[in-house]
């Protein structure tokens, strides 16, 4: 089981859109996928039409009094399950702080799911917090969307520095240019330059498209409701790069038998 965290210190950069579309593409490839919505805003949960409620809230999940397995919901897509967000997830830092070895807690909670899933996507809230440390400890790969501006590149440097300073497990980082406004010269320049200069930046960039914003209207991954669109092609390219980085093998006959 590989764990991919869509994470950035900055908010509103396209983490949830990446997590939702990549998890859908992974499931379409025949992998068994879980998307864990750790963000109390519950955007991923909303996009999959699931109610943002977990019995016992974050407290029960983190302390282990409620089995993670029992909180998981099936989405409308075969092979793709969701751990919905709950408003109490806003307190995950505080809850983690009261547990032993808090940074290892999330990894420990996910461990029993190894037999059930091939990939777990963690859609994380922004910021550097105890929760983000726990996420980084659990993840094999941090997928970091960055808006191609000078300040965002600086944020990426901060993130890689932060990960480099972690004790013990350090996840790999793969950043990708997100929400590119093709009308802006700087966006285009940085989006072209960064992947050429840095190994930790994906060649695929995701443009800012209204279709991606329509996901909230359709309440569905763009890769599901507009599979041939430029947005879907972008996410497919990004998923291919993630898959390669994780050395994930796709089943010979993709699909889970249901439309």
């Amino acid at each position: 089981m590989k764990i991919v965290a869509t994470y950035n210190i900055k908010g509103g950069v396209g983490k949830t859109a990446a997590a939702v579309n990549l998890s859908h593409l992974a499931a379409r490839d025949g992998l068994r996928v879980l998307l864990a919505d750790l963000d109390p805003q519950a955007a991923a949960t909303f996009l999959f039409r699931v109610r943002p409620r977990v019995k016992g809230g974050g407290n029960a999940l983190i302390r282990g009094s409620r089995d993670l397995d029992r909180a998981i919901k099936g989405t409308d897509f075969d092979g793709l399950d969701l751990l919905p967000a709950d408003f109490t997830f806003r307190n995950l830092d505080l809850i983690l702080d009261t547990t032993k070895k808090p940074t290892q807690r999330l990894a420990r909670l996910l461990r029993p799911l190894r037999a059930s899933y091939d990939v777990v996507f963690l859609d994380c809230p922004p910021g550097i917090t105890l929760l983000s440390e726990a996420v980084l400890y659990a993840a094999d790969l941090v997928l970091a969307p960055i808006i191609p501006t000078t300040l965002s590149v600086r944020t990426l440097d901060q993130l890689t520095e932060f990960i480099g300073g972690l004790d013990g497990h350090r996840p790999a980082v793969l950043a990708f240019c997100s929400m590119i406004d093709r009308r802006k010269r700087l966006h285009n320049e940085i989006a072209e330059r960064l992947p050429a200069e840095r190994d930790d930046v994906a060649a695929t960039a995701i443009p800012a498209l209204s279709l991606i914003e329509r996901m909230a209207v359709q309440r569905s991954p763009v890769t599901a409701f507009a599979p041939r669109s430029a947005a879907s092609r972008g996410y497919a390219g990004l998923w291919a790069e993630v898959r390669d980085r994780l050395c994930l093998t796709v089943p010979a006959q993709p699909g889970h038998g249901r439309a």
Binding site: R49, V50, I72, K73, G74, D76, D81, R219, R258, A259
Partner: protein
């Protein structure tokens, strides 16, 4: 926590399935088609005697747009699939593509061929059942089976509601509403059972056992008539398969039916109208004799590979010409047998015999079934004890062969009247007898095989062109068979002593006394 499915059958033809579902759903739920309905051709396969069904297995060949697929599923959740690769039915399991499915089937079917038990087109439609958020909370699968065999009506539509993970409660609620609809009943027959039911059939309907329910007080003649009619059914059920040479067990079952019939005619002659046994006894002997050459060769060929593996000074490949010779002769004998089974003489025999049995009426005076049973099995048992006791170390093989036949008579008599006995007591006596029968059977089979090897060796030598290595290998084989024969012969006295022991006799006495002596 895995979701479970609610299964329903829908039989009311007035409304379509989707109408029923729409009417059943509470207002906050909706149903939408998930994909275009797909139709596949399903052929269920089993051996003639339903070995897969008895083992809790179902084998299907499913053909749709892609290559046909074989699917073996078990009641314990076992599931193995393989590409059918254009397999034609009937086929022995050895004729299937190599792999786990073939291996699993071979252990169950052994010498029996797989043949179509039923065929149907299956149209499967899937629907999403959504809640007020338009979130899919369950899947509805509708399977409409259209049997290939003409029937008065198709089987009921098969509905299945399966919860999406985390939505079992909502799926249960939908299922409860669906169950309350007219024409919807909970549970479904397995698809094979449903298809067969439309033509009044059921899986497992054939057995070569004499499963006739008798009552102790019924006239013995009518009990015997019921047994004989059942034997005729089994005989006739195996004629087509024997003629087509589907597998060796059709002939085996046909032959056993003939033998049982002859035994019933012999042991129960005095229960039947005067002259009936004398008239039909020779007719069934003719039929039995017809089956002997092919069956003897079948036994030889069925054990050929195992016997060849025992060779010490020769290689199994050396026996190739011998095997080919046996196979050729078997093909010749099979053609003769098939001709006889297609003959007017055979048709007249079975028709007249059925009519004679149908015309039997209870005699004015005569024993009831229980008394006749006790008398018949006691007589057969006494005969074995007397003839077995007379066999010594120097007795000729014929004496043992004769004893084997007497043992078979008792075994068959026990089978005919099994329904009149206490099952555990019956099982114990059969077990005592089986110990002796196995030893005598091995002895005689080895005798027949030895003679066969000698005869064929002489014929091959006379025909010329047979390699010396083949004759040497046949000698080696004969030596092994001879060893087995001597072992069986040396075991005879102890096996007979066990059968004739005071304890075994007491067990028999309990059985016979229970029958009504």
């Amino acid at each position: 926590m895995s979701a479970y499915s609610h299964n329903f059958a829908y039989t009311d033809g007035e409304r379509s399935v989707s109408e029923v579902v729409r009417e059943a759903l509470p207002p906050q739920f909706s149903v939408v088609p998930a994909a275009r309905a797909r139709t596949v051709r399903r052929t269920w396969l089993d051996t003639f005697d339903w070995r897969l069904h008895q083992a809790g297995l179902t084998l299907e060949c499913v053909a749709g747009r892609g290559p046909a697929e074989l699917v073996l599923s078990g009641t314990a959740g076992e599931r193995i699939t393989a590409v059918a690769n254009g397999t034609r039915w009937p086929s022995l399991a050895t004729g299937l593509p190599r792999g786990p499915l073939r291996d699993r089937l071979q252990t169950v079917t052994s010498a029996r061929a797989l043949l179509p038990a039923a065929k149907a087109a299956s149209t499967v439609s899937e629907f999403r059942l959504r809640n007020a958020d338009d979130k899919t909370v369950a899947w509805l699968t509708v399977d409409l089976l259209h049997p290939a065999e003409p029937a008065a009506a198709d089987p009921p539509a098969r509905l299945s509601v399966t919860a999406v993970r985390g939505y079992q409660g909502q799926a249960d609620r939908i299922a409860r509403c669906l169950a309350a609809q007219p024409g919807v009943s909970p549970g479904t027959l397995p698809p094979l059972d449903a298809v067969l039911a439309t033509v009044g059939r059921a899986p497992g309907e054939y057995t070569n056992k004499v499963d006739v329910q008798l009552s102790a007080t019924m006239p013995a003649r009518m009990a015997l008539a019921a047994v004989l009619a059942r034997l005729l059914d089994t005989l006739e059920a195996n004629v087509a398969g024997t003629i087509r040479d589907i597998d060796t067990e059709f002939l085996h079952d046909l032959r056993v039916s003939v033998r049982r019939t002859r035994t019933a005619l012999k042991l129960g002659a005095d229960l039947l109208p005067d002259g009936l046994a004398a008239e039909y006894g020779p007719a069934f002997k003719w039929l039995g004799d017809l089956t002997t050459p092919t069956r003897d060769l079948d036994v030889h060929l069925l054990t050929f590979a195992a016997d060849a593996a025992e060779l010490t000074s020769a290689s199994p490949a050396d026996l190739g010409p011998f095997h080919d010779y046996l196979a050729e002769r078997r093909a010749l004998e099979q053609r003769r047998l098939a001709r006889a089974l297609r003959s007017a003489r055979f048709a007249a025999l079975t028709a007249a015999w059925r009519s004679a049995l149908a015309g039997l009426t209870p005699p004015r005076r005569g024993p009831d079934a229980a008394h006749a049973d006790a008398r018949i099995i006691r007589r057969a048992h006494r005969r074995i004890l007397a003839r077995g006791a007379a066999i010594g170390a120097d007795s000729p093989p014929e004496k043992l062969h004769d004893l084997r036949k007497r043992c078979k008579e008792l075994r068959y008599a026990l089978e005919f009247f099994a329904s009149l006995h206490d099952p555990p007591a019956h099982r114990r006596v059969v077990r005592d007898l089986k110990g002796l029968q196995d030893c005598l059977g091995t002895y005689q089979d080895c005798e027949v095989q030895q003679k066969e090897i000698r005869t064929v060796a002489a014929e091959l030598l006379a025909s010329g062109g047979v390699p010396a290595t083949t004759l040497l290998a046949m000698g080696d084989l004969a030596a092994h068979v001879g060893q087995r024969e001597r072992r069986a012969r040396s075991e005879f006295s102890s096996r007979f002593a066990a059968f004739a022991s005071r304890q075994a006799q007491a067990r028999f006495e309990v059985l016979a006394a229970g029958a009504g002596s």
